[in-house]
């Protein structure tokens, strides 16, 4: 965990309320692993009080840059979207436990902005397939060649939810299945998978976070055995079976 001043190389709008930002932060880019996140301070003043967590969308070790994809949802993300080339932001990270990258075949299932971290993961994987869903074509933040798409309004790919793409793949052919998106979407995907593959299914969660580095207990996530896990330090990537989905859905803001 290091805290550095990163210089903004580019900010561009890539969809409705969706932005892509490129930061120069060589040390952090070198250390980051797929699924890890950064806590970003977009404004040097005291407010907003807390940093905001962002998953790393891609990291260029040689060039020393990091890329983030995010949707503007409030003051923190709004401030970040208004930065321009040459501005500087403080970046704490990399934080959390990411995806356990391995050589076998992976399936990536993303819903909406949940796919934001997948470009980085895909770049470090061997063979893999990708299923992506969103409300409409414009909200698909990432559309790599070969990915199967589903949109609720039918403006791209199959009309429907991402779960409707699951019957076009063989779930037993993967070493790992990685799922990231809204809680209800992740839960539906996990439930739609045959019981035999659930053990190899991983999800990446979001939570409100205060610190992001494991000390405050603010990002508690209900665990399947009772009690809580810390989204920031025990996750954000979890085995789907580690989590109590009923209690997670109940607490989702």
């Amino acid at each position: 965990m290091t805290d550095c001043d990163a210089s903004v190389k580019a900010v561009e709008q890539v969809g409705p309320g969706i932005f892509r930002i490129v930061l120069l932060a060589p040390g952090t880019a070198r250390e980051s692993l797929p699924g890890q996140f950064l806590m970003i301070e977009a404004s040097p003043g005291p407010f907003p009080l807390l940093r905001r967590p962002f998953t790393v969308s891609s990291a260029d070790r040689a060039g020393g840059t990091l890329e983030l994809l995010f949707r503007v949802t409030g003051g923190g993300t709004g401030a970040l979207s208004r930065l321009s080339r040459g501005d500087s932001v403080r970046v704490l990270g990399p934080l959390g436990r990411g995806w356990p990258v391995s050589d076998g075949r992976w399936l990536l299932v993303g819903g909406g902005m949940g796919a934001a971290g997948f470009p980085f993961l895909a770049s470090r994987l061997g063979p893999h397939d990708i299923l992506l869903g969103a409300g409409n074509a414009a909200s698909l933040a990432w559309t790599p060649p070969g990915a199967l798409l589903a949109t609720e309004d039918g403006s791209a790919g199959t009309k429907g939810l991402v779960t409707c793409l699951l019957d076009r793949i063989d779930p037993f052919s993967y070493e790992r299945i990685a799922v990231c998106g809204p809680v209800a979407m992740m839960r539906a995907v996990v439930a739609a998978l045959p019981p035999g593959v659930r053990a190899s299914t991983l999800v990446s969660l979001e939570s409100r976070m205060a610190c992001g580095w494991g000390v405050c207990g603010g990002c508690a996530v209900p665990a399947s055995g009772g009690g809580f896990l810390r989204c920031c330090a025990d996750g954000p990537v979890f085995e789907a079976s580690e989590l109590d989905w009923d209690r997670i859905e109940e607490a989702a803001p």
Partner: protein
């Protein structure tokens, strides 16, 4: 004012007047690993209770326009796990460690202190008689001077180490509570815990925190804490440790001007684990002017 930069409080000596506040640095392991303890005079751990506590249901935190609400609920592994698994890892910690202690009864506070005496790692205790986030917990104690005195006296009978009582700004008379802590034998009082707060979405009527209310922290609380530190330090003869609103070195010095012997930094550390070094460096610069 010439502030004391190596404060002594009761039997404990600190490396700087800047302490890390309970709940914002865990048990110190993460911040130790990050190498972020430079500038920190001491560290106050998470609240430790007799039995393990899961903590409250999420959502446990909510940011407001000018502050942070939290309702963690004293989540901790319980005193036995702290003694066996946590404190041994803090052997040789770069700054003094104070264990924050909470309980449901005076006897529980004393029992936790008693058991912790088996470890030589920490220099003292902060009795949390003021947590706003548990049902039958701390805050009821904190507003009743008679109970504050009883809890302090009982804990005092179990330890010769530093004993500070963390007071509540929520209800009751903080001056009476401070006097009661002094009468019970406390070495210091911590002024004060978070302020009871709540955030509601007016469109839906739902509270942002699962328990409704929580503890509010913010740099905007500084004048409220300066006033309480100023009043309490004129009422009691024991040192006052300020807690609340300290975001900058200037704020630390202002709280010391109000009478604080040391100042806890909390929410700022959540945002910036390296803040203690930054604040300390600036503080040294300011006092040498």
């Amino acid at each position: 004012m010439k502030p004391e930069l190596l404060p002594v409080i009761g039997p404990a000596r600190f490396r700087s007047p800047i302490l890390l506040a309970s709940g914002t640095c865990g048990y110190g392991l993460e911040i130790l690993e990050a190498g972020a303890l430079e500038g920190a005079g001491g560290l106050v751990t998470k609240a430790t209770t007799l039995e393990p506590r899961e903590g409250n249901r999420p959502p446990r935190i909510a940011e407001t326009e000018y502050g942070l609400l939290n309702s963690i609920g004293l989540a901790n592994p319980g005193v036995e796990a702290v003694i066996e698994k946590v404190l041994p890892r803090l052997e040789g910690f770069p700054c003094p460690v104070i264990v924050n202690v909470a309980g449901d009864t005076a006897g529980e506070f004393a029992e936790v202190v008693s058991r912790l005496e088996s470890s030589g790692v920490h220099c003292g205790y902060e009795l949390n008689v003021s947590c706003p986030n548990v049902e039958n917990g701390g805050m009821a104690f904190g507003v009743l001077p008679r109970l504050v005195e009883e809890i302090t006296r009982l804990a005092r009978s179990r330890t010769a180490r530093l004993l500070s009582v963390k007071l509540t700004p929520n209800g009751g008379d903080i001056l009476e509570a401070a006097a009661a802590a002094e009468a019970g034998g406390a070495d210091a009082v911590t002024v004060c815990n978070t302020f009871l707060g709540m955030k509601i979405d007016w469109r839906t009527g739902t509270a942002a925190l699962s328990r409704g209310t929580g503890g509010y922290s913010s740099p905007a609380l500084l004048p409220l804490v300066v006033a309480r530190v100023w009043q309490v330090s004129r009422r009691v003869g024991i040192p006052v440790i300020a807690s609340g609103g300290a975001w900058t070195a200037e704020a630390v010095l202002e709280l010391m001007s109000a009478g604080a012997r040391a100042v806890q930094v909390g929410t700022r550390v959540l945002r910036d684990p390296f803040a203690p070094a930054r604040i300390h460096a600036k503080l040294l610069e300011l006092v040498s002017e």
